[in-house]
Amino acid sequence: MIERETLEMDVLLVGAGPANLSCALHLSKLIEAHNKSAKEAGGKPLDEISIAVIEKAKEIGAHQLSGAVLDPISMKELIPDFENEGAPLEAPVGDEKVYFLTERGKISAPIIPPPLRNHGNYVVSLNRLVRWMGEKCEEAGVNIFPEFPGAHMLYDGETVTGVRTGDKGIDKNGKAKPNFEPGVDIVAKVTVLGEGVRGSLTKQLVDRLNLDRESDPQVYSVGIKELWEVPDDRFPPGSVIHTLGWPLDPHTFGGSWVYGMRDRIIDIGLAVGLDYRDPHLDPHHEFQRFKTHPLIAELLKDGKMVRYGAKAMPVGGWYTMPQMTADGVMIIGDSAGMLNGERLKGIHTAIKAGMLAAETILESLIAGDYSRAKLGAFDKRLKESYIGRELYKTRNFHQAFDKGRMLGLVTAGISTVTGGRLPRRLPIKAGHQHMQKLSTPDGQGKADRYAGLKYDDKLTFNKLTDVYYSSTHHEEDQPSHLKVVDLNICVDRCTAEYGNPCENFCPANVYEMVETGDGNRRLQVNFSNCVHCKTCDIMDPYQIINWVPPEGGGGPNYRNM
């Protein structure tokens, strides 16, 4: 038995992203206000409340990746004077364009579709925004512990009592190294999971307590992004382009963004729906092809790629959200699927969810009741808030694309006009179930899909080179954090049925089928390339890949992403 230290906290938040940092900051402010008014009115103030945020990254913000355009609606509530308080905003959104791309040409949208209108919003770097929110939290007395991944939920019966953090110093064979330090049991009255998309603890919790029994399966997209430095101010800060169409095929959901940042940086990315059909599809390659379109190639000409990253996002929306509270625990932000898939925005919803969670936690602290009966007020609060209304309106958006792009655009258009009202709730299945076997018409004959794609190391880069620009680093001598449950399936079934699509959907060259020397092949997992995007956990057709956090501090470093 390993002896573990125990750390007692009142409120434990797992993951230092916009949802949890907003929750921690708002909660500390609410407690202060409550105690002040209690003192004045002669009531009972709360004892000192300890709030801790744990984060797997080496520093706050290092794993944060988003477009990003921020709708400031909730930031205005959290920090009303955020502009003067030094919020790192790149620029207010200025010139906006939407194009439908064909291979060489483009068709301008006559009007900007309402969901894509960004007037009043800001182009931001989520990494910088989150770092700043972290500073605000520390000023307010919140304890933030980077390099502490959550490994397991702690339960008392079915009540969540906290989180066990990951062990440090385990070698690749699972043995303790000289620097071994066992994970810590952090016990708390309320544990808030704001782990981001496809959270590994959220996954454990939702399964164990069956919190998704009434929800549709979540569907995802993966965003592939690069930052480019260009020699002149050809694309001023705040400029925005969105595109639909090429290079994605009609069965693939997605689109691109191009945002102007300060200091001649262009932020460019492609979101690819993780419910595509062709197992040969490679989101990284689609993005590389996208950059060769004349519109984009011209924009990036003589520029230099400076950063790379990838991250999945939940796009299923309203009907896919799980029950968000249980005894002693809450799930917020992307972990609970609160991203608006139609606007491709989840930062403002995460921030608002964090604030609503804080309001609920305050009531629990006052009442001394952390059961679902009390915390459950959050589910209602969220659904009745403007975030809930926004998500409800777009409840059928992604589902409309279940049958392909053209029908999807029409259905989604109707849905936008009617505020989400369609004759019926559209059905949806999990993204990986859309992948077609090689033996089917949609699955075959596209092995040459990227035959024309050449890497010139100027405009286009192979995966390994791109990974280098994500500054990803992991301790090499540790067990792989990508648990492939059954490696035989890769060889015995997957090669023939799907052609090992893990080699394609992973944007970081983690999965590689290698020759064993005796004429056979085996799956090699280059886990130290992993950029923590979660695509493999989501898209693997057999669902045998389980993403768990590596030793604390490992992963990409998304500075300024």
């Binding site: 230290e5 750390l7 512990f145 390099e147 440090k168 330090e181 810590v184 190391d457 390994l464 080179t465 990974v467 280098y468 680093h473 090499e476 001598d477 290698v514 020759e515 020397g517 090699q524 280059n526 130290s528």
Partner: protein
Amino acid sequence: MSEGILLFIEQRDGVLNRTSYEAMVAAQRIAAETGDKISAVVLGSGVSNVASDVAKKKVEVVYTVEDGKLAEYTPDGYTAALRRVVEKLNPRYVILSHTYQVRDFAPRLTSALGKSFVPDCIGFRVDGSEVVFTRQIFQGKITTDVRVSAEPPVFASFQAGAYRADLAEAGDAAASVEALQVDLSDVTIRTQPEEKFQEAKQAVDLSQAPLIVAVGRGIKSQENIAIIEELAKALGAEIAASRPICDNEWLPMDRQIGSSGQTVSPKLYLAVGISGAIQHVVGMKNSQTIVAINKDPEAPIFDIADYGIVGDLFEIVPALTGEIRKAKE
């Protein structure tokens, strides 16, 4: 009545462990504030030289415990001897440095005595007449103060580097060295020390090698590594590898060049079957002369190579080895 500070001095084969002087600094600073006197204790067999060295420092007295059973460190011998010393002297504090040896015997010693042990301290402060020890918890994220409410003696060990050994104060005159009579005749030593060994450090420091032959995925299988070893031997070069080779454990991890391995800049870097992914290139691009052998003319390694050979390494390498041998004859 407990009084004074007892400082444990660690030695092996008559050589003092330098961290004992670091612990001495802690002891001297505690003494400066509490007014306690410091006695040092050295265990072993033939430790008079160590004892007289320690006596030059600012301590009250140096005790030696000489016994054949203490000639080599054993947990049984040290625990029994120190237990008797502590019972005899009855100090308020016992200060040690947090070495592997101390980690081994101190928990056992203190639980045998039923006393408190504050391990791995990084500092202290004196609060009234009481010493409050500082130590780190949660992987060094939090620093805590530890107050001991139990009866003295209180044991505390200090982390290596918490104090600087060169700051140990010398005494005005040499302290007296006294042999302490401790009878260990009834003590059974249950462990038998084997010959000491040190696991080899990193076998090679590739950054010092003037000539390096590096092998990559193009070598295809472990058996083929032999031809690269032949080439390296003929050249008098060190052998290195790109990541896939070390991942497959065809060569040890300390031979890996690149962003997750070593960075080198030899006079000659001969890259065989290495495509030149940026992760590898960052580890060797400053080599004075780079020669690349690869069958793919598009391989990025050729972008940085001074000399490139496009072709089958299985033909080229043996031929090259032969030519080098001939030239050297």
